[in-house]
């Protein structure tokens, strides 16, 4: 099992190594996709193997894999496979169109693999200090992807991203310090420092932690890692970064990176709930969550760059997950985790579709795209279906998870909050669908260049379609039926959180 945990992290590095060794776009792309496939296989295997066993521990507490880690590993692995496969076609098409040089293509694959590997590694560590180190490193790797195109706009977005996220994560480090300090009570004198910063230890001794210090630590962690999650008001980097990154990288940002930040918050949440009780973390998460949903929805009303629209939808959905964590209870946590997986797949599909559209139309403005269903039926249909999926319409998975979250809200004391959430979801539906249905339907623009396929060769064209179709099928399946293994995994993850 231990070896599996290492293979899982090393998988995405295949693309990095291939690109660093000088492979061409297509070879590096396939290497990266194959590596991602290995990672997904390892993640599934790990889930099956670890489902009914004690958490995997090693390296003096630095390696720690429990069901919660497994769940997030699985989510990130799925997204990595989708995005790596989508990259093959997208990057080749961009290189053929002369928008990326060969050097930029190599940079892309080097940092894509590093980014994925660092995120996966951060979910396999039980040491909260190392968690910070890995998350900050993944910020830096992904910043290179955001600024890849080298234009003024993308460099500015990358700058904004790296400086805001680094500041945020540094604040989370201050939170980690206070957590470490709160554990420095007489009770823990005999333990080594390595152990005092590990999650299982802190969780087991949560009641003995100094409360004032713990409270400050949680607040700093939510603000700090919340910057990575894109919780309002720390979300300002997110729309720019998502709009400027190459589309498969946007998919990774939205569907994997944001979840990595949420994973860190959930770890802190569990300790805080065990140490301070439900009320304090509940209020903090509900405030940040609702603020994010409101901000996300408000900015979705504006038309314009469709990748920005998808980015604000990510802010909204991260807010929903925070709200679900705030509602709490078994139902709330179940909804939060299920929604994490569903949103990850749906957003990966949406951003990959946006990449397909951007490659065909050479624009990221929604006004420049019309009549997709007529010109490129498959892309148009994918855009429509993915939009409805992400907005939570049945029969897709997000309907089920949002329904669960609202139910968890009604199980609480006051019906005001879940009603407010429902209202906001309705507004989001109208705002989002207005733009995407406009892009998919209507008369194609006369000047549209979208007739010819930008992909050379059937293999690369297939990579633009395959992940999108696979993702949509997965969303449909998750909407109709939760596989028994997944249900058990989520159940065990909730049990981990106490």
């Amino acid at each position: 099992m231990m070896i599996l945990a290492y293979v899982l992290i090393a998988g995405p590095l295949a693309g990095t190594i291939a690109a660093a060794a000088g492979a061409r776009a297509r070879t590096a792309g396939w290497a990266s996709a194959a590596g991602a496939g290995v990672t997904l296989a390892a993640a599934v295997w790990l889930v099956i193997g670890q489902l009914h066993r004690a958490p995997l521990r090693g390296l003096g507490g630095f390696l720690y894999v429990d069901p919660l880690s497994c769940f997030f590993l699985l989510t990130v692995a799925v997204v990595t496979v989708l995005a790596a496969t989508g990259s093959v076609g997208y990057v080749a098409a961009e290189e053929a169109a002369g928008r990326l040089s060969r050097f930029q293509v190599r940079l892309y694959y080097v940092f894509f693999g590093l980014f994925a590997a660092l995120m996966l590694a951060s979910m396999e560590t039980g040491n909260l200090g190392l968690l910070f180190v890995l998350i900050e490193a993944s910020t830096l790797a992904s910043a290179a992807l955001v600024g890849l195109e080298g234009k003024a706009a993308s460099l500015e977005a990358a700058w904004k991203y790296v400086i805001i996220s680094s500041l945020g994560v540094t604040i989370a480090l201050a939170g980690t310090l206070f957590l470490f300090y709160s554990a420095s009570t007489p009770l823990t004198q005999h333990l080594s420092a390595d152990l005092r910063l590990t999650w299982p230890y802190l969780f087991a001794h949560a009641h003995a932690l100094a409360p004032a210090s713990l409270r400050l630590a949680f607040l700093l962690a939510v603000v700090g890692y919340g910057t990575k999650v894109g919780l309002a008001p720390m979300h300002t980097w997110l729309p720019d970064a998502h709009a400027e990154a190459p589309s498969p990288a946007s998919a990774m940002l939205s569907a994997a990176l944001l979840n990595t930040g949420m994973y860190a918050i959930i770890r802190f949440l569990a300790i805080t709930r065990a140490g301070l009780g439900e009320e304090f973390p509940r209020v903090v998460l509900l405030v940040f969550g609702f603020l994010s949903v409101v901000i996300g929805v408000l900015f979705m009303v504006r038309r314009g760059n469709f990748k920005r629209l998808f980015a604000y939808s990510s802010v909204e959905h991260m807010g929903i997950i925070a709200v679900a964590l705030g509602f709490g209870g078994v139902l709330g946590l179940y909804g939060a985790l299920l929604h994490t997986l569903n949103h990850a797949i749906a957003k990966a599909v949406l951003f990959l579709t946006s990449g397909d559209i951007a490659v065909r139309y050479r624009t990221r403005e929604s006004a420049g795209v019309r009549g997709l269903l007529a010109t490129v039926p498959l892309t148009g249909a994918a855009l429509l279906l993915a939009s409805f999926a992400v907005l939570g319409s049945p029969p897709f998975g997000l309907f089920l998870s949002e329904f669960t979250i609202v139910r968890a809200g009604f199980a609480g004391a006051s019906p005001v909050l879940p009603l407010l959430l429902l209202l906001l979801l309705a507004v989001a539906f109208v705002a989002f669908a207005r733009t995407t249905t406009g892009m998919a339907t209507g008369e194609p623009l006369p000047a549209s260049t979208a007739g010819a396929s930008p992909y050379r060769g059937g293999g690369t064209a297939l990579t633009a379609v395959l992940p999108v179709v696979a993702g949509l099928v997965a969303l449909l399946v998750l909407g109709l039926w939760i596989p028994a293994g997944l249900g058990t995994l989520i159940g065990h993850s909730i049990a981990v959180l106490g």
Binding site: F62, N127, G129, L130, F132, V133, L134, E136, A137, L140, A143, A144, G147, G150, K151, A152, L155, E156, A158, W159, V162, I163, S166, L167, T170, I171, L173, A174, L177, F178, F180, Y181, S184, T188, Q189, H190, L191, S192, A193, D194, R196, L197, A210, A212, S213, L216
Partner: protein
């Protein structure tokens, strides 16, 4: 294990740590009060040198080899490497002199800085830390440095100034780390250090690329006006 917390504020190392913290805070204020790019970098460099001295004091007091390593690395990289690189690669090459992109006046930001320092004392001192220990004296200082760095990032819009602001935040966290928890696992401390170095490198690339792009964009505008 928690010798750090037991280090009293009146012992010699305790006094030295406390004093270093004060100097680091004053240098953060100096940076906030300055308008010249040269000075930003100089104050940051001086702050890092004092920080490495503080790390050395802590290393001596606790007899910790890892802290010695960190003290030397801080001196070499943060005290010398980063300031020299910033001066060569950014300030001289991009010909940066006076920072005009301030969103508030200097006096306003200094007053705000004073308020944040008071806030840092208010939040950290009474409830978190027992009196009489060095941590109780230094943690409010380090929190104040973190807040001042963040303030510098907010009131300054120039990328180089924001970069220096982030580095000051990082120094504040590091100051807290060596006094509050000198027993932090070494791998983690080393990882944090590497992250800072990698972060500075990648930010240098973005800043110089961005400045070049903007310069060529404005030059293109000029040509258009001429034609």
């Amino acid at each position: 294990m928690s010798r750090v917390q037991n280090l009293s504020a009146t012992s010699v190392p305790g006094v030295l740590l406390d004093l270093s913290g004060v100097v680091i805070l004053l240098l953060a204020f100096a940076c906030l009060a300055s308008k010249l790019f040269n000075r930003y970098v100089a104050y940051y460099g001086a702050q890092s040198v004092v920080l490495s001295f503080a790390a050395g004091v802590a290393a001596y007091a606790f007899g910790s080899v890892e802290l010695w390593v960190l003290a030397i690395a801080t001196l070499a990289i943060k005290g010398i490497g980063i300031p020299v690189a910033a001066r060569r690669l950014l300030i001289r090459r991009l010909d940066l002199k006076r920072d005009a992109a301030l969103s508030t006046g200097l006096s306003t930001s200094l007053i705000a800085g004073g308020g944040l320092t008071a806030f840092a004392y208010l939040v950290t001192r009474p409830q978190l830390l027992p009196h009489g220990l060095v941590a109780a004296a230094v943690v409010p200082l380090s929190t104040a440095v973190i807040l001042l760095g963040a303030l510098a990032m907010v009131v300054r819009r120039h990328t180089v100034a924001q970069l220096v602001g982030w580095l000051i935040v990082e120094n504040g966290v590091f100051l807290g780390a060596i006094t509050l928890v000198a027993t932090f696992p070494f791998i983690v401390e080393a990882g944090i250090f590497l992250d800072v170095v990698a972060g500075v490198l990648i930010m240098l690339v973005f800043v110089s690329g961005l400045t070049r792009e903007l310069a060529s964009a404005s030059a293109a505008e000029l040509r258009e006006l001429q034609g």
